[in-house]
Every structure is written in structure tokens, then in C-alpha cells.
Symmetry: D3
């Protein structure tokens, strides 16, 4: 098995950035999702009459934090390339199972993809929802942060 | 229900930072955990003979990225207070179910706790493991990012 | 006139940070204000029926950006000391003259004050209001960014 | 009135980044201005014999801080796109009314403009002038931060 | 001698960023080197049986810190342009004189070169080696940080 | 030899931050030096009649960049603790051998020392001098970056 399969580990076993200099500039998009399970007490606060006064600022703060984190991905993940993010769309909603579902889609015209950007945006938005709710209870779990789809690179991906 | 229960939402429904000026300076610690489930193909690479040349750099890169993220928590999460982190310990191991378990413990002597720092460190370490493995497969899920324990604040917490 | 009167310029005419090592740790607060004058067209959008759907996200985004900038003041202003911000309260409202008035109060327990933090928070919140409105018109002026009050240092200040 | 008129607020009332993926790459420039009014006492120090030893370091520090802030605009303003700044020129002078006039011109070859970069550079330079002078007096007001001109986008703008 | 010869000083003697807007987009690379001389005691620890358990984490941490610093060069050096780094390769080895030799190669497709990025990466990697070893002794000197080679710009350079 | 001797490597061979929670808060200072050797051509420009118009902005830009880097040390060096820097003094002069000597002194009241802050400040100031001069020639070497003195910790140090 060639050592290049872990793209960020070189032949001598040291971590390294991949050289993307020869790759094609294409429009690339990626969508990631994080699901936050808030305990019953917190959900009661978010869903009842407080829905406007509370859910608004909680989710909007998370959208903003997620967006800013997307732009800072290469500053957080050691071997990510800095990319000129062109699009970043965060959507947060409560699903039928009363889970908070965060979806983050990032787009760029560049030589490498934005999977890590989308995952970082969803993760930091999830952490922000946590921070906004934690005074009520620590019965909070961020689960299932994962890539949903990516297009525009060598190989498209859609989670089945 | 008092509006102060969402600590970062004020009486007018706007997001805000909590004033911790009157709180006691105490030694506080928090431990968070993130579990990364890598698909079979990736795990095969990490567990066989490549264990030294590959797992070393992958996990060490994640430890470093997680540590740096801990120190940058207040820069990522809008209403977190900047804290003089005194201790940050990241541990990454593969459990019996062949899952990568990341544990992040943070300590500080300050007026407020470090739950968000521990959670952010575990999350960014998990994202870094993802980034180091993603060339092999996107069959990766970060799940169960959660607080395990916190001490030194108004109320201790241990996940049961 | 002693060269020390410009506190950030030393005797040789070079810029320098003030040594605050011998100063007292006290609780210090500062309040700054920035006024944004939006042209008629933008104000019509903010004040009519769009008041909930538009003013909410515009002002909340500005509050969040201002708060994050407060924490990053020493990273932006070359000779500001890094301070453990304990309190940051941004308030944005429309006054009788239909101007957007941003007030930013910052608190800290430290050896030096937080005037620059309050001014930076108000300024970045004002820039964010500008950014959120600029697609409608560039008839926007940020004016009268100034310190309103500071307490806890060698000398209190209240703008008369 | 279509909800898209506030470009950073989406149809559901949440803040969001504009997708500039389909826009043209053109050379774009923007010039912003901030005026700082220093009280009589501070101006006396800057204008008399101290003009070389003091004004030099004060204004040069502001030029440097403004330039660094220009490059960090997308890190400060939540929905600004990261842009590869090619040109940044800050000029600071004292006008006939003894006001400090800061002019910041930014240039880029990109899909979106640099108004916010120019405004952020002028604002942070103004805050830095404030910081360098504040030991003398808090009789300082930053006023009239505004866009003067922009070219290269869909619509040019010149302040009349 | 024309004032433009110091490219970051303008005709009025103020520091300024060079406008690279009219320059050609080409593939550019630069390689810098830093040499760290660790005293005998530290070298004994790195070279004997501890070579695997100690040199691994010391050098890998330095590689990661150097890589992250490369990406942050324009945030550290006031008049550097932000560049979309495509390649960053750090190599650290012990030479025959028992010196630690750090080589940092950076590549980009852009309007200006990456000398400062390569030099910054080598410098921060050297500082990190220092930090990892300093508990043993302060008998450490970083010497000979210099550019080795650059290609792709107006004029190639190879250190003779 | 105990594994704790490399303070940032733990018993399992992984890099880690030292826990300074139990250390004493004391006033600590450290001074570092970097020497930049500029080739003859560059020195001619700095020393002749251009001394005021050129050396001023070159050295002042380096002082500012060094000061800002001091404050960002824990963001650059993976296992450095964030510290509330109270004092930072950069001095740059040309010695008898026509070398540029940068001295950086940092002071803090904290549980751990500021050697890395002083070294980082000197290094980034040196890189900035390089950047300001490199259009004239790449005949530049940064050499002899080293700690000169530290006080206030477990053990004082003075370079002999």
C-alpha cells in the first residue's frame, strides 16, 4: 500500500501539506451536517412560546459563528489550503425527532475542495448552539457530524 | 420562565456575553470527548503494519490542532470569554470497537469554566483526524462529541 | 513637554507598548458609542413591516461581530495589551433622528482599561451594519465614534 | 420589496453570505475616509516642534495597523468574502481645519468589491490614532467614516 | 537613488504595501532554511535511544507549527500580500555537525512570490524546536535563517 | 532519563502542553536578540542620507510587527500558554559591524515565563526588516536569534 494514500503523510512518515499546484481550477461545493441533541428541558425552552425570542438569537449566533469558522478553516486544520470561499450557507432547523439539524454548504472556485470547510462550519455552529444552551443543562450531545455531498472535484460524493 | 435562563440571550431577545466580573476565581477543569468512526478501509491502514508510520503523524497532528483550537475558543465561539488556559491534554486512542476516541481535558484558574474549550479541542482534533484520512474514503463520521466531566464551578458535572 | 505624554512613543521617537506591570488590578469599565446614519431608502426598509425579518438579523449580526472584535482588540491595535474581557454588552437602537446608535460597554478586572476595546466593538458593529445594508445604497456614514464613559482607572471620564 | 435587497439576509430572515460564484473577476478598487478630530491639547503636541518625533510614529503605526486590518476584514465582518488584496494604500494628513484625515484605498482582482476592506482599514487606522493619543486627553472623536469611491463592480460610486 | 527601491516605503517616507495588481500570475516557489544549534545536552537526548519517542514529536510539532505559520504570513508581516498557498513542505534533519536543519519550501500560483512565507515557516518551526527543548537547557541558538532559492518571479535566485 | 525532560512530550511519546496550574504567579521578564546581516548594498541605503526617510519606516514597521507577534505567540507556537503581556519593548539599532541588532524584552505577571514571546518578537521583527529590504537584494541573513536573559522564574538565566 503506497504511503501516499494518507495524503498528509509523506514517505518519511512526517505530516505534510499536499501540493495542489497542478490541479484544475473548478467550481467545487460541499455540504456537511451536524446534529445536536438537546435534552428535554432545553428543547422545551426552544419550542414553546420562547420560540421567537430565544430560537432566533441562538440559531442566528450559530449561523454567524459557523460562517466565520468556514473562512478560518485553513487556520484551524493544519494541512488545509487557504481558499477564497465564494459561498457559505448555513441552515439550522429542528426535525421531527426534535433534534437540531445544522447543514452547511460551502462553494469555491479553486484547485481543491471544501469538505473540511463545510465540516468545520457545521461543527462550530454546533458548538455555538451548545454554548448558547449550556446554562440550562449539559444534557447536550453533538452527534453525526458528517459530509453529505461534494461536487466538482476528481470524484463526486453523495452520502447514501 | 426567566429570560436569563439562556445565558447568552438578554431581556430584549438579543444575544449577549454573560458578565462574569463578580464570579470567584477558582481552579476549573473540564473534559470532553469526541468519537470518530472511520470506515473499514481507513482502519485497516491505521491498524496494520502502518501503525507506526501513519497513526503517529495522524494522531499527533490532531493533538496539536486540538491544542491550538483550545487556545482559540473565545475567537471561534462568539460569547465565550478569553481565558488563560493553564493545562490542555489531548489523548487519542482506538477502542475495542475500533473507534477513534479523542479525550480533551482543559484546566484554568479563572472566573468561568472551560467546557467550551474542551469541546472545541475535541472537535477540532476530530476534524483533523478526518482531514488526514479523507483521501482514503469519506466513510467517516464524527459522533458523540460531549462533555464528560467538569469541576471547580458552581456545580460539578459528571456524565453518568 | 515630556516625551512620555504620547504614551506609545518612547524617548527615541519609536512607538512602544506601555509597561503596565506596576499598575493596580482594578475593575474597569468603558462605554463607547458609534452612530450610523443610513440614508432614507435603507431606513424605510428597516423601519416598516420588515422590522422583524430584517432589523433582527442586521442588528444581531452587528452585536456578534462587535463582541468578537472586542475580544480581538489587542490583535488589531498594535500597542493594546491583551485583556481577559469579563463583560461585553452591545446595544443597538434607532433614535428619534432615525440614526442607528450603537453602544458598547466592556468590563475587565485588570491593570489597564478597556477604552480601546469598547471603541473597537462599537466600530466593528458599525462596519457590520454598513455591510448588511450596502446592497441597498452607499448613502451610509459612520459618525461620532467616541468614548462616553470610563471608570476604574487612574481617572474616571464621562463625556459631558 | 424583495427580501434579497438586504443582501446578507435570506428569505427566512436569517443572515447569510452572498454567493459570488457566478460573478465576474474584475479589477476593483475602493477608497474610504475617516476623519479624527483631536482636541486642542493633542493637536498642539502633534503640530509644534514635536511634529517629527511624534507625528511620525503615531501616523506610521496607524498606517500599519490599518493595512493589517484591511487584510483581516473577512475575519472581522461576518459575511465578507476573503479576498486576495493586491493593493492597500493608507494616507494620513492634517487638513486646514486641523483634523486628521485618513484615506484608505484597496485594490483587488476578484469577484466582489473591497468597500468593506477600505472602510475597515480607515476605521482601524483611526482607532490606532486614538490609542496613540489617548494618554493626553479623551477629547477625541472619530467622525465621518465613509466610502468615497469605488470602481470595477456592477456599479461605480463616487461620493458627490 | 529612487525612493521606490525600498519597495515598502513610499515617496513621503511612509511604509506602504506594493501594488501587485499589474503583475503576472505565475507559478512561484521559494525555499528557506533555518539552522538550530542545540547544546550538547539537548542533542544527547535527541540522538540516543530517545530518537523515536522524542525526536518524532519534537520535529513533527515543528513541521505543523511551521506549516500553519506559512499560511499566516500575511497576518504577521505588515506589508505581505495574502496568497493562496498551494504547497508547503517542511523538512527537518540533523546534519553531520549535529545541527538541526529546517528547510521550508512554499509554492503558489500568484502575482507575487513566497519568499517571506518560506522564511516565516522556517523561523516558526525553529522557534517551536526551541520551545520543545528549552526545559532541558537554554543553550540554543537559531542561526542562519536565509533564503536558499526562489523561482517563477521577475528574477530567479539561488544562494551560491 | 525521565520522559518529562522534554517538557512538551508526555510518557507515551505524544506532544502535550505543560500544566502550569500549580506554579506561582510572579513577575517574569525575558530578553531575546536577533541579528540581521544586510548586504553592502542595502546597508548603503540605510546609512547614508536616506537614514531618516528609510530607516525610520523600516525599523518602526519591524517594531510594530514584532510587538504584535509577541502578543500572538501562543497562537503560533503549539504548546505555549496564552499570557497577559504587560510589557513589550523592541529596540533596533545598527552596531559597529553594521549589523542590525534587534532586542525584544517582554514582561508579564504570570505562572510561566515569556522566553518564547521575546524570541518570537525578535524573529518576526527580523523577518519584517527582511521584507522591507528584499526588493534591493536577497543578500540578507537572520542569524543568532537567541535568549539573552530571563528573570522571575524557577531559574534565572543570563547569556554569558
Amino acid at each position: 500500500m503506497a504511503s501516499s494514500e494518507f495524503s498528509h503523510v509523506d514517505a518519511t512518515g512526517n505530516p505534510t501539506m499536499v501540493d495542489v499546484g497542478q490541479k484544475q481550477v473548478t467550481r467545487r461545493e460541499a455540504t456537511a451536517q451536524a446534529v445536536v441533541v438537546l435534552g428535554d428541558e432545553i428543547m422545551r425552552h426552544l419550542q414553546n412560546d420562547e420560540i421567537h425570542t430565544k430560537k432566533g438569537p441562538v440559531f442566528q449566533t450559530a449561523i454567524i459563528a459557523g460562517t466565520m469558522a468556514v473562512k478560518r478553516t485553513s487556520d484551524l486544520i493544519p494541512f488545509c489550503h487557504p481558499l477564497p470561499v465564494e459561498k457559505c450557507k448555513l441552515d439550522i432547523r429542528v426535525n421531527a425527532q426534535r433534534e437540531v439539524v445544522i447543514t452547511c454548504t460551502v462553494g469555491v472556485t479553486a484547485k481543491t475542495g471544501v469538505e473540511m470547510e463545510a465540516l468545520t462550519g457545521a461543527s462550530v455552529a454546533a458548538l455555538t448552539v451548545y454554548d448558547m444552551c449550556k446554562a440550562l443543562s449539559h444534557d447536550i450531545v453533538i452527534r453525526e457530524t458528517k459530509l453529505m455531498e461534494k461536487t466538482g472535484g476528481k470524484q463526486d460524493f453523495t452520502r447514501s
